[in-house]
Symmetry: C2
Subunit: 159 residues, 2 copies
DNA sequence: AAAGATTGAAGCTTCAATCTTC
DNA sequence: GAAGATTGAAGCTTCAATCTTT
């Protein structure tokens, strides 16, 4: 292990480049989503998870597991999306504690008008710029970093 | 260029790993900061920029340039930090429009109690896990992504 | 008009507390 | 008590509008 209190100039350069890339990429992808269908990145995560779900509906907790969000974050986001008519919350027959989250017609329209261009944007701003080797390196180092942060996390893989 | 509407399973895997790494890394670094001195990642950016500035003070706009934040974000953050006694805003002699942002004694204490461990955390969770080649790959692909998003951005490099 | 900076509103995110149903 | 979910408060972030000084 290196000296714990020092970071080289080269390392700082890499760190700054990495931080900047993340920010610019998020901003660019977010702008495309906004332009396509007037939705945010957070909206998109929810819409896509619902779109891909069996019968296009999910329980709130399950939705949170799929996109790795806390229950509270899910609930607040759903409240905002419901007020904009993108989703609805419906009572759950077999468990009165729970709710089904379902896409409205407006929500389905938003997914349809967005998903193709968002995928294209992902290609344009990210995948098409990386060689297969670079993509492999990124995956490998990402997994390693996650593993170092919390070894337990690595075995939890919500599908 | 690949088919713009399709992303391979391998690419999705990489994307998920990357997104997850970013989130876990941010969370882990943030927790360390919180444990060290009760400050957030946003606080830390501001404190460090001030600490490293000549005379340990900066104009708000200059601060925003250094850490790549919008002026509004800077202003709101400074308001919160001022209310917690970490910084002060002082009038500017030679330009009555502007303000100097300065560290308070409490703010200096927060930097001192934080910077060493935050650097160590960065080593532990990130730098020590990457080979020089991987670090180089990450820097290179990061620059490329930023360049593809906005070519103009690449020539602007606020120091 | 441009520069430096603040404000208010709205959305995003986390935390702790809460409520109902199992 | 645990599970499913919501709420309120506080901090974070962006946008558009504003205000003062240059």
């Amino acid at each position: 292990m290196s000296d714990r209190s020092s970071v080289s100039e080269k390392e700082w350069q890499s760190w700054r480049a990495f931080v900047r890339m993340r920010r610019e990429l998020d901003r660019a992808l977010g702008e495309r989503l906004q332009a396509d269908g007037g939705i945010s990145a957070a909206d998109y995560s929810v819409l896509l998870a619902l779109w891909e779900a069996p019968e296009r509906r999910l329980r709130a907790t399950r939705l949170g597991d799929l996109i790795n969000w806390e229950k509270s974050r899910v609930s607040h986001q759903l409240t905002r999306m419901e007020s904009r008519g993108l989703i609805e919350r419906m009572d759950c027959d077999d468990d009165a504690r729970g709710k089904w989250v379902v896409l409205t017609a407006e929500g389905r329209r938003a997914v349809l008008s967005t998903v193709r261009d968002h995928t294209a944007a992902l290609r344009e701003y990210f995948f098409d710029l990386l060689s297969p080797e670079e993509l492999g390196t990124l995956t490998s180092l990402s997994d390693r970093v996650v593993g170092a942060i919390d070894p337990a996390i690595c075995r939890e893989d919500p599908e």
